[in-house]
Amino acid sequence: MATDAGSPRRRGPAGRSAEVIRAIVRAEFRMLLRDRRTVVVSIVLPLFITPLLMFGSRWVQERRERQLETAEVRYAVGGSDADSARSLIQRASRPANDATTAAVLLKEVASDDPERSLTDGELELYVEALTAHEAARRDTAGEADSVAVPLLVLHYREDRDASERGAERVKEGLAELQRAHRLALLESRGLGRISEYATVRQRNLAEARDVAGLHFGRYVVLFVLLFMLSGGSVVAVDTLAGEKERGTLETLLTTAASRADIVTAKHLVILAVALLITVIQSLNFLAYVALKLIPLPQGFVLDVAPGVTVLLFVLLVPIAALVSGVLLLTSGYAKSYKEAQLYFFPVLLLGTVPAVAPFFPTLALRSAVVAVPIANIALAVKEVLAGRYDWPFIIAAWVVTAAAAWYVRRLAEHALSTERLIVPSLGESAVVSGQALFARRVIPAFAVMWGIFFVFVSNVEGRIDLRIELLVNLVVIFLGSSLVLIRMHRLPVREVFALRRVRPAVWPLVLIGGPAGLVAATGVFKLASLVFPVPQEMLEAFGKGIMPEGIPIWQLVIFIAVLPGIFEELTFRGTLLYGLRRSLHPVPLALAVGAIFGLFHVALFRLLPTAFIGVIFATVTLLTGSVFPAMLWHAINNATSVVAGHFELELPGLEVIHYAVAALVLALVFVALWRLRTPYPGLRPRPKANPKH
């Protein structure tokens, strides 16, 4: 073989990888720096804009505060006891020397019709003065033992700042006046130190540094994450999706660089940019603080030791790796620059969710949260800044998040080996109609349906009869949209709704599985509330919603168990499942159908249990190929909870053993269903393993 430069010498694979990665990283940086406009707009501009916006909104807020503080409160006094009220208000507006509140600027305005003047905005406050006698008459419905004293009614408007604030301050002044009056009375009766009775002197054990650290520590990871996501995305969007669009990815894939090397190189570039932007933004903010453009609260001592700074940086590295990995992955899944951008917003939203963990005051790193990537580091950072070092858990948090980053990197590599994703023209038919079009539209259609449902429920709840509300939801919104979709895409009704016969042996299994599933779901719900305790008020509201008074139990069973069993199943395990059956493999399919079902229960704390139940229904439908068993299961499930509620049997109050037994029964039912399975037709085949690259 004749070549003009001789055959290339072989080098060790590790050395070769390093060489390739270095070449790609260098080229990427070169190209990034040469794209001046993007660098300026997406990296330099935010450096100035973000602090300026913060400064601006702070300035506006402070100005408003000052204005309200110094604004004159125009008031009028009316009623039969006007004179004494006037003197009280004047005394209340001039606080005693030792009072903590500042003077209120009051100006009395004469008005013939003060109520009208208040409405017209000529007054901020109208004080109606009632004599003791009038007050007692007015208070007939009130407690019998209350003492008859003169009454001041402060009329104000909550929809006007100045009015609300004025009323509030006058009320405070009056309360202060009353307190002083009472102490003076007691002291005059020889009770010398009575003013100290039951007073509290606070002693704070924490150092000012740790207190500031706690406040500041809540925000650190959230802000850093936002910087990383927005800065990293500039490179990420361009790096795989942009290369696909320009056709350079194919060029790169025909080179000897392995896909792992390409992913590593690109990951490193995004990581470097993300870290760089974080460092620059942090310095930038410190500079603004030093220049007093962003004021710190009084007594705020932010004093971070150099060792702690290093520790914080070390803690943030796995987050940066994870964030850049996720960005790379999204870019890898998008076919074009525009598409990648489209995914960015949802990624930003979902990505920042775990970073709010430090805002939960009772969440400690020493808990199950340590297994949640990002959230664990966010908590660790807060605790470190507040002066607590829980080393084993800090290390565990680091390892967990780093492992997540590694896993995401592997997924990105997988995306680069997925042919449909790297060769843009593959797998997409030019002309799509009927069923295939329906598959693409089913998610948006359900999103629209969710919107209609949400708007309907939130504007109607508690204002109309529950039965009518349920009927509209089930028949008009759920079934109606399904039928519209079926008509629009000319789909076969029987198949969409999976109206198929099942083996008789399935029915007894469903009868056993229904109650077991409900108890197991309650267990899941309790498990979830261990990590995120549910507010008591919400639990009560839930009970009220499902157990309305004045509806007989047989009607409840129909409206809450039978009808939802039919219509919700037709919609979710019928239409939705049918629409998604080719887009997802069976397991993710069941999970997705369950999760979407959960979202339709518009309450954060019901999401998990209903999603769990939804996954069960979807699995049953997939295993039996028919919607009927899921319908029965659903009806039994809901009926059980209605009946349990009726007889005040509290499912969440059961022992752990009950949940365990229920879970076991549920598992056995599924084993049996698996044995008897007559699978749902036309599912997406299992993915084939890809040969190595």
């Binding site: 290339p8 070769r16 190209m31 794209d35 056709g247 194919e250 060029t251 042919e419 797998g427 040969p691």
Partner: protein, 252 residues
Amino acid sequence: MSEITVEVRGLSKVFHDESRGEVRAVDGVDFACRGGEIFGLLGANGAGKTTTLRMLATILAPTSGNATVMGHSVLDEPELVRRSLGFYSSSTALYPRLTARETIEFFARVNGFPPADVDGRVRELVATFGLDKYADARVEKLSQGMKQKVSIARTVAHDPPLLIFDEPTVGLDVLNALEMQRVIGDFRNRGKCVIFSTHIMSEAERLCDRIAIIHQGSILACDTLEGLRTATGFRYLEDIFVHFARDDEHGD
């Protein structure tokens, strides 16, 4: 003749399509070619040429069958396969914000050209393709013809024994297309094995030592132009192509 550079055995590719279901884009293709030879894949759009070549370049994985390049299998040693080949097509673009010189250097390094020799290789290629004046201008600023030269230079940056040209003349004007043909001929003369796909009959007639006619994923005939003429009795490649394509459809 020199040793076999590429050997393709029973190569097939099946795609899943949203509305059409399974599509056999390439269906049991066999061929082999050697150094110093231009092997032409001739077929209409969508015949499976690009898919075959992409499998050879290991961008796509074959559903069944195998291919070897310089003795390395595309299934087991994809990196060594890619190191032995240069892939050029109208869809393999260049990085717009790198200069011509940086582009060539980048591809030489990524393809594992000995680092110590990279600078010399880049200088050599810049001279060979007459890029001296434009070597330090960004690729986005270059004219179409210049870009084409840089593209070819990056394809051969690591001096591979096999060169794949997938419809290289699509969208080129006459002068640039002729230049392309001249360069491809040159590579053959220097002993490279060149695989060249096209749907333009005259190009295949003029350049190829052997021609494979590919239609609906299968190779219908594979021979020298003379051999094809004798087998069919037609003089022009157009007629020969239509003859085979029609036969195939009647056979279905």
